[in-house]
Symmetry: C2
Subunit: 363 residues, 2 copies
DNA sequence: CAGCCGACTGGAAACCTTTCCAGTCCGGAA
DNA sequence: TTCCGGACTGGAAAGGTTTCCAGTCGGCTG
């Protein structure tokens, strides 16, 4: 595979230098409620009542005010409203890494749902650094968000727990467990069910050494998957579980795979606990020319679009990330509307495929 | 491929119902600058000066104020600051679809860069609907963002152009061209270079019918790629270019492929203009059991992680989306700092691979 | 007919900061 | 000794809205 480089990197001349003339006089710039009031010949309080749909407003008043609003092209200053009302209609989304397809789909679901209720989404990446989790929470809190959606990098961090507690703001955890007695809503995936089905399938095929290469041990999905794997094998005395938690990275996937295959008793089946991990696993398997499913069976979690063309087809434990985001948003909206905290659990599906087959007979 | 469903969908009981006791008295709640001033026995203006690092402040004053700030755990109210200063230190990011890996990486680059300068990112998806582009711009404008990062769904929309013009706010276009004389910064990809190299490569292999299955014709990348393809073939009289613009969707990729292959003169090479389109193309090729590169050569744009395991390896026109986002953010920060508008062009790389081979001899 | 209530409106405080302006005090220069 | 400027500080306006409170007025009840 050869690589040709092309294109230059430069910064070209500006397209134009002149600022456009100040907008037509009717613009919103500098037009405040008092101008409207003056124009309509009424008090500011009346303007405010009309605009906020207050009940005690006569038709005549409404008409006069609306006319003035039209004429002046008045638009309320949201900052002043936020200050006065003490609410920003803004939600903070703290996420380990938005470039992860799983999380960006969650973000899409959340933002779409929130926007339907006139909330905006403030995005903060923590690049999987627990300190940034806490810092971002603090930062968004200072920006006075009305609520939080948290997909933390590390739920065990003291600082993060403190930061969450300090905010005293409605918070929805996304597939995370925070070890705190404070009430918190959450939307969770039922990882156990997916792993259980996958393991049943593998055991049914005759596998006796099943390895889970998992991500960070400091987040719920990893813990749940590990627990589910070990639990599922309690009834199968002959089958051994191996677990390799680490990080949700290609590097970990690759290193763990290498390590396992070099070990005395390599697994007959691997479950890759995330799409980046999968890449690492596949890379190492390819480098060793290990054939799936002939030499090793493979299951992955949280598929990505192109996975469907992988040969052989990959068995996958799926969930619906858009729906997770949407649900998280709904839970938050409910809380902001005064409802109690609530935990929603969303299902997981296991799709068997030809990447799983009976293990090779023992050599 | 069988599918077992597992897991239940439910909403479980809340974890707790009691609110935690109001935080210790020193909390920021209700603590304003005037409390600090009173506690320190100075005027509010002095507190403000100390906190904003104004020059004319005595050491004694600074110490007293800071002590009071510490004791009260005072945190400034950013909403009041925003209102007073008329700046929010917030940037609006309008994007067709954040769940697209290309765009989510751009978002990551942008957010990371912006946060380093204390700006926050307000995210708005337009789900590829031009009306929502305009609406989101308007919405974010009302929220008084200091600047815009725009990855529009349709740069030809009147409403969008008007919305942009109306805001009179520093704006960076991301790989888009807005037909307006207003000055606008932009970060662009040099698609032409990538396409040119790819076409040279294909022509070198002997291809005579090269098809570009492109995305929406209403955005710059599509136009640039089409132009580049046609231009590149001007010097190769025997080679025919076909172009199938449509949408950045799997459906379009699949339909266009079907259409082409059913046509009288099917292409010998296809360039898929995006990762979703690629999925559609591959699906149709797989359904017809068309072998790459034996029956058809394939090039794709904007790869995704798993693409590297596709067999055969996919020739790809790449760019660095994180860097695009970071560059866009830098351009915006510069504009916010008073600099003139500027256009940055980032390179594109073509990587040849075994998905391209000489075409089958004519039947 | 007095009294009262309800519908409606205006005035002003409150939200919290930044910034302009004026004023105090002191040291140094004339 | 007087004047001036610089260093520093306090007061108050401004930024734009929401909301409480008080007040007016017409109509209805007793």
């Amino acid at each position: 595979m050869s690589t040709e480089s092309s294109g230059q990197r430069n910064t070209a001349a500006p397209r134009s230098r002149t600022r456009p003339a100040r907008k037509s006089a009717a613009a919103s710039a500098g037009t405040g409620m008092s101008q409207v009031a003056e124009r309509a010949g009424v008090a500011m309080s009346s303007v405010s009542r009309v605009l906020s749909g207050h009940a005690d407003v006569s038709e005549a008043m409404r008409a006069r005010v609306m006319a003035a609003v039209e004429e002046l092209g008045y638009q309320p200053n949201m900052l002043a409203q936020m200050l006065r009302r003490g609410a920003t209609r803004t939600v903070g989304f703290v996420v380990g890494d938005i470039s992860n397809p799983l999380l960006s789909q969650i973000a899409l679901g959340a933002e779409t749902t929130l926007r339907a209720s006139d909330y905006a989404l403030l995005l903060a990446n923590s690049v999987n650094d627990p300190r940034l989790d806490a810092e971002n929470i603090q930062l968004l809190h200072q920006r006075r968000v009305d609520g939080f959606l948290l997909s933390l990098s590390d739920e065990t961090s003291e600082q993060t727990a403190e930061a969450v507690a300090r905010t005293d703001t409605p918070t929805i955890l996304i597939d995370r467990d925070l070890p705190t007695r404070a009430p918190t809503s959450a939307v969770l995936s039922d990882h156990r069910a997916g792993i259980t089905r996958a393991v049943e399938h593998l055991v049914g095929l005759g596998h006796e050494r099943i390895t889970l290469i998992a991500g960070s041990p400091h987040v719920r999905p990893t813990r749940e998957r590990i627990d589910a794997l070990e639990e599922a094998l309690e009834d199968s005395p002959g089958v051994v579980a191996q677990v390799r938690p680490g990080a949700f990275t290609e590097a970990h996937g690759r290193a763990a795979t290498r390590d396992l295959l070099d070990g005395r008793r390599p697994p007959t089946a691997i479950i890759a606990g995330g799409n980046q991990i999968l890449v690492g696993v596949l890379a190492e398997l390819a480098a060793r020319e290990i054939r799936i499913p002939h030499d090793l069976s493979l299951v992955t979690c949280d598929d990505v679009p192109l996975a469907q063309f992988f040969t052989p087809a990959l068995a996958t434990i799926r969930r619906d990330p858009y729906e997770m985001g949407a649900t998280a948003a709904r839970l938050l909206l409910a809380r902001l509307g005064g409802a109690a905290d609530e935990v929603a659990t969303l299902p997981t599906q296991f799709s068997a495929a030809s990447s799983c087959a009976p293990p090779r007979p023992r050599q």
